[in-house]
Symmetry: C2
Amino acid sequence: MKRIKRRFTRTIYVGEVPVGGGHPVVVQSMTNTDTRDISSTVAQIKRLEEVGCEIIRVAVPDEEAARAICQIKKKIQIPLVADIHFDWRLAIAALEAGADGLRFNPGNIKGLENVRKIILAAKERGAAVRVGVNAGSLERELYRKYGGATPEALVESALRHLDFIVGELGFENLKVSLKSSDVWTTIEAYRLFAEKSDFPLHLGVTEAGGLIAGTVKSAFALGLLLSEGIGDTIRVSLTRDPEEEVHVAYEILRAVGLRQRGPEIISCPTCGRCEINLFPIAEEVEKFARGISQPLKLAVMGCIVNGPGEAKEADVGLAGGKGVGIIFRKGKIIKKVSEEEILPVFFEEVKRLLKENPEF
Amino acid sequence: MKRIKRRFTRTIYVGEVPVGGGHPVVVQSMTNTDTRDISSTVAQIKRLEEVGCEIIRVAVPDEEAARAICQIKKKIQIPLVADIHFDWRLAIAALEAGADGLRFNPGNIKGLENVRKIILAAKERGAAVRVGVNAGSLERELYRKYGGATPEALVESALRHLDFIVGELGFENLKVSLKSSDVWTTIEAYRLFAEKSDFPLHLGVTEAGGLIAGTVKSAFALGLLLSEGIGDTIRVSLTRDPEEEVHVAYEILRAVGLRQRGPEIISCPTCGRCEINLFPIAEEVEKFARGISQPLKLAVMGCIVNGPGEAKEADVGLAGGKGVGIIFRKGKIIKKVSEEEILPVFFEEVKRLLKENPEF
């Protein structure tokens, strides 16, 4: 695994979770339930906690949603961030209800005196703030000055907000995001900001899209930035269940070499040499693997001759042939079974390995 | 769109498709049918042609598969590459059957005299050759020398093969791949090779894995290399239908800013402000979009108030609210419809736009 030199930033805290300062890149997501529906929201957050979500954000469209945070907080383990648009009173209400952090775009809040009220309330309660600059809600003046929501415009917007919040109000438990649905604008904005400030960065591509397009955009943009050492917490945004966002986030961190959670599955694309229906087997293994948090290497190969050799780094692997399958460990065949037994024997072998090696 | 400075390479030809020399990055895939089953193989290639596949590779495990190429070639439009392992005679047979190119690892063919036979046959027929170095089948001697399938080992293996093929045999219609299932090994190997040779590069991460893990690995590794100007043709390898590989390949090229094929869909991840069940709508739009090759920008937004504004760059968009939906063009609302009408009216609007603007 390549050693990435992370950019130097301050450490801030969202609840008890450190962000920045070289701490592991934190994985976040956002609920898509109605925040006022406390039981659905809690249930979703608990599912997200199980798949490794470390900070959760909820929408706060009204006072009732803000008040719901109090009940939600009692039943979840991870810090909660309230997503605020336009109305400073909702920010105060969310903090009063116990939110560990706020995400808002100061450019969206009318009147500096109201931004001041939010920041002072956050300071009083030890809450974190994410200044969330977004191409879609950039100040008109900057839009005109730069002829669009360019990287420079996004960075100037963020730095202005920081001038006020840090410089004038002395608030420092702060992170920043600079999002655009355009991938290169996002990348360039983060790079530029990273040169000019030592506050931690929350990475994301906004409105990234559906499962495949959104995964591609996020893996490319976040992967590129993370590989340059930029980024302290990430949220993958997909038009899908938030559990899927967390799953993709960890796959990105694994690909870049920053964090490992759950098994890595090496599987071949199948070709004319494959004599077994590998796709459903691979899908079953993927499903099985989501229930495991240890960073095993598993292999699913379509050909019994080259499979074990090509996947010799896998802790446990399976390879299928005509009517038979083999189970291997680190490239060495340990069992030959009938086609129907491949999956159950493979799963058993993985469980045995985990039992024998609790340090995984 | 960012302008990427592509690395300088020679141009080679696979059939009539130019690869390298600044030509658009070519999208490839590989069939997973039994090559001997001509009708299934042809049917799959035709489906792949429709989604934009530009070069197709088929497995050639035996003589019968090699001979099948002759019939397959008659019914398809795109160049065909034969994938050869171990047996030089299969390479000759594939060329005799009309293959436009070969992919093989010279380290896999016993005896330099047999590599010579293959190369001379390719030269005689004007076929292309991909020297496919792979971490899984690296020469033992290099494995020992470098203590593993390191980037340096992969590059030395490739350069040795080139010494013989180019230097001694004078064959130059050649491209190279250096694959490993480890993402950083792959990236570093391509970077290193790119400094040392001007032959075009075929990019891929081998055994990338299932849909999500494979898409993440490929988008990160191929995206990173392409953004550095490295890579002249790509194949995304997934344990899924090859059409999916082509789709992901174009999403990567679009994210990096190198090519556009088909609509880009901007869609929001939904949040507590969303009052419509957006996921099935987004999936329907994704399905619809796969039938379009023009590079439109479409938006699928969950909130009627901010939706059109946040997606103001979309050519056509839809946003859903409680019981109603709106259709917008470039951020401007053009129609308000009932929830059931959103999709049909949206699709109609897209078709109208394409009809009115044939230059798209």
